[in-house]
Each structure stands twice: as structure tokens, then as C-alpha cells.
Amino acid sequence: MSNVDESLEQLLSKASPRPVPDDVATAVAREAVRAEWQAVTGKHRTKKNMVGFAVAATILVAVFSLFNQFRVPDTAMVQVASIQKSFGPIFIVGEQSVLTRADNLEVIHAGQTIVTGEESGIAFAWAEGGSLRFDANTTVEFRDDDSVYLHSGRVYFDSTPSELISGIDVADIGSFKIETKYGVVSHVGTQFMTQLESDELRVSVREGRVAVVGTYYPGTALRGQQLKFSGRQRPVVLDILEYGDAWDWIGRTSPTIDVDGRSAHEFLDWIGRELGRNIEYSDETMEQLARKAILKGRVVDEPAIALRQRMATAAFEWRYEEGTIYVSISE
């Protein structure tokens, strides 16, 4: 070996391995770039309203019988959630950081990473109790039975959802944490939304209290507040509405509920919880009527639509007034 070779090898041995982007980031980027490439080459024409990577990944057919291809730890196949509703393109990060279409996925195990495409959404029954929802363009890694890691996008968690949503244990709620690059978000009996963009974390609270153990600063938010972390700055607390546009996507992910034999009162409670609004009856008689009115069938529509349809047939009137839905008898 020449002196130059020897010197070179010594030099290289002093260096650290080059940093690499993580698997999830690589998978998401690969599909985004692939979609753009396919649009450019005309190989697969995209629809205007579809985001790139989502469209691209539609050509990747999910083969669920080959379950082992998915990233699941060999040692612990811990089921942490089950899917109650999903729409739009859903992906799972597989080996070699490739996104695989997974629209028919039913259960989630610790270690798996789920990515939603444009105009997508998912509702999960969290195994330890609670309803977990993902908005479109969201990437989340299921770490273990009490935490997820939010890479990007928007998630919502309701620790005590309506009993009308089947398959969720509301009696024995375990802990649930959302980890992010800005810190760990945990809650005390609540409904809250966590949104992570490239340079900002926003935690919005509908009910209860949420604490964030931030990378640089801690913070807490109560009902009607939003906690905002940006860079290394101190968190900011803002007053927000608990309903409206920012929350609308949650209604779209509401799982189907079975109302057969349940009262209109229970149905309205579910509506209120999903829409973030209080329910008020015109008087006590009206409330008693709602308790006695028995519904039939299942509700597959999102809450706002279901409210219109069901109330029309129940001879009840209703109106939105800011954060409240007022219910009265039709005249």
C-alpha cells in the first residue's frame, strides 16, 4: 500500500458517517418526486386536485397477504390501534422506505408509519381508549401503546368519545402522548388537535387540559386555547374557537355510528362532541322528548349532514348560534 493510500485511509477513518434523512422522510419525498415526474412525462396523468405523492402511490398496489413486508418489529407485534373509517389514499411505509398503498388496512401495530394523501382521512380506535383521527397529508409513526410520533400534518384525539362510536373502551382510558420535534404533547381528559408544519407546532384544545413538554420550553393550554411553538421561541397561547373551519376535517373522519335503539339525546350529544358545540334544548320538556325519541339504523354521514337529515325526520328544529346548537320542537 502506498503512503498516499495509507494517509487517505487514515483521513477517512477520522470522519463520521454522513447524515441521512430518516426512512419516513425519504419515503414521502420519493413519492412526491415520483408523482411530479409522472405528471411531467405523462406516464400517469394526475388529477388537478390530487397532491403529487398521493397520486403516485396509487400505482403501488397493496399486497396485504404479504404482511411481513410492512415495518413491524419482529419481537413485539403489539396492536396499538384499529381503523374505524378511512377515505382517500392511505399509505404505509414499507421496507426500503417505499410507500405502499394501504387503503384496506384494519389494524395498526407498534412500529408502523402511516401516511395520508390529499383529501384523505382516518379514524382509529386507540387500543388503550380514545378516538384518534388523522387529517390529509399527515405522517405519523405508531411508537408504542401510549404514544405516536407526528412527523407532519394534523391529528386529533378525543379521550372520551361518544359511546355511540363502537369499539372504543371509554371506561379504562390509558395515557396517550403525541411526540413531535418540538416536544411531547400529553393530555388530561380532553379533546385536542395537534398540528405540525415545518416550522411550527400548534396544539388546540376543545376540552380539558393539554401539557407540552417542549424541547426548549414547556407549555399548557386549556379549553378554547391554542398553544403555538415556533422555532426556539417561547410558546404563545391564543384564544380560539372550539368549532368552525379549523375543526371541520374532524367531522369528515367521524366513524359510522349505530343509533339503532338509541335516543335522539344521545345522538345529539355525539353531534355536539364531534362538532365542538354545546347542545341546548329550548326547555326541559324538549330535552325529555329528545330522551324518549328513539332512532333507528346507522349514521354513516359526517355529523353536520347527519344532524340535518335526522332532525328533519324527528320533527325537531335546530339552529347554530356561535358555539351552541339550540334544539326545539318544530312548529
Partner: protein, 206 residues
């Protein structure tokens, strides 16, 4: 003027919708662009990932404009540099001063500098840190396979057999690839570390 025929061929295949060409294009460039952006974005991995992704997305839109007069990765770096600036501007951050190095010192000099005693001046400390960083920069400047084999062999300590397995080639071919990679590394690293010395000299004079 040099024409980068291999890169030109790859672009042609990409424009024809060739899937393996896309895989190669992405595999060879995403992680390198990520690192290129990372050092310019204060080591923010999320920002670097976003900028690298935007860069490749922009690049595929402009594939037809690539004339192979520079290496494909150089062309991508130019796009990445613009995207990094845009990203910083969008985030309201000030652009950080980026140290760029060019020119040629001896590899042995670099090794010597890495073996300085612990009591070193700030200038020496800076030089040592920069020289180590330049190793990574150099690996990224090489053809992708060259950078990978050098890293696997000398930084991560894999055997020839293991590397042959990774690349799905014979041991002799791996040895030959390593020899070529070392020569290329030596040339590029000399250029970069010499540039660093020039920069330090200018700083010392000012």
C-alpha cells in the same frame, strides 16, 4: 466544453418514463441534496428534507432544460441553493454565511492537521472541524458509488466481501472500485482543503 454523457443518458431515460432511471435518480441524489441543504439550514433536518424534496420536484419539471454541461448533481445543487434561499426567506431567517472551499493541498497535510495535540488554537480547532466536514462534502461530490464504498470501507469498517454483497458485484470489482474511488477522493479533497487553507490565510491577514 465537457458533456456529462452518463447524466445526459439518465435524463433521457427519465424523460422516457423509465422507472429504474427514476429510482436511480432519486437514490443517488436525495440524501446528497439533503446533506447539501442541511449544512445551509442550521442543521434543521425537517427543513433540509423539505428543501431536498422541493429541489428534486423542481428539477423533474425542468429536466428538458438540463444540457449536461455540468454534472447532474452540480445542476441539482444550483437549484437546491435557490430553494434554500427561498425557504430561508419564507421563514424570515437571515441567510447564514456559508463557507465555500476550493483548491488543492496535500492529503498528508490534512492528516497531519487531524493529529494535532489537544491544546490547539481556535484557528487549528476550526481547521480540524472543517477538514472533517470536508470529508463528508467530498464523499458527496464523488460519483454516488465512490462515496458509498469509501464510507462503508473506511468509516463504517465493512469488509470487501460485505461491500461486494451490498453492490452485488465480485470482490475484485469492489477492490477496483475502491481504488478508483480513493483516487477521485484524493483529487477532490485536495481541492477543497486547499481552498480552506487559502480562506484561513486571508482571514489571518485581514
Amino acid at each position: 466544453m465537457a458533456v456529462y454523457l452518463d447524466d445526459k443518458k439518465l435524463i433521457k431515460q427519465l424523460l422516457a418514463g423509465d422507472e429504474p432511471a427514476f429510482e436511480r435518480f432519486f437514490e443517488e441524489n436525495f440524501a446528497r441534496l439533503y446533506r447539501f441543504a442541511l449544512v445551509r439550514l442550521s442543521d434543521d433536518p425537517d427543513a433540509a428534507r423539505e428543501v431536498a424534496q422541493i429541489t428534486l420536484t423542481r428539477a423533474v419539471r425542468k429536466l428538458r432544460t438540463y444540457r449536461a454541461e455540468s454534472a447532474l448533481f452540480t445542476w441539482l445543487c444550483a437549484i437546491c441553493r435557490n430553494e434554500t434561499s427561498d425557504w430561508l426567506a419564507k421563514q424570515g431567517r437571515y441567510r447564514e454565511h456559508i463557507v465555500l472551499v476550493e483548491d488543492y493541498p496535500e492529503v498528508q497535510a490534512a492528516v497531519d492537521s487531524l493529529q494535532l495535540p489537544e491544546q490547539m488554537s481556535p484557528e487549528h480547532h476550526y481547521r480540524r472541524v472543517e477538514l472533517l466536514r470536508l470529508i463528508q462534502v467530498t464523499l458527496d461530490k464523488l460519483p454516488p458509488r465512490y462515496g458509498d464504498v469509501l464510507e462503508w470501507k473506511y468509516i463504517e469498517g465493512h469488509s470487501i466481501k460485505e461491500i461486494s454483497g451490498k453492490l452485488d458485484i465480485g470482490d475484485e470489482a469492489t477492490q477496483s472500485l475502491l481504488a478508483r474511488a480513493k483516487r477521485a477522493f484524493s483529487d477532490v479533497y485536495s481541492t477543497l482543503s486547499n481552498g480552506l487553507d487559502q480562506q484561513l490565510n486571508e482571514l489571518a491577514k485581514s
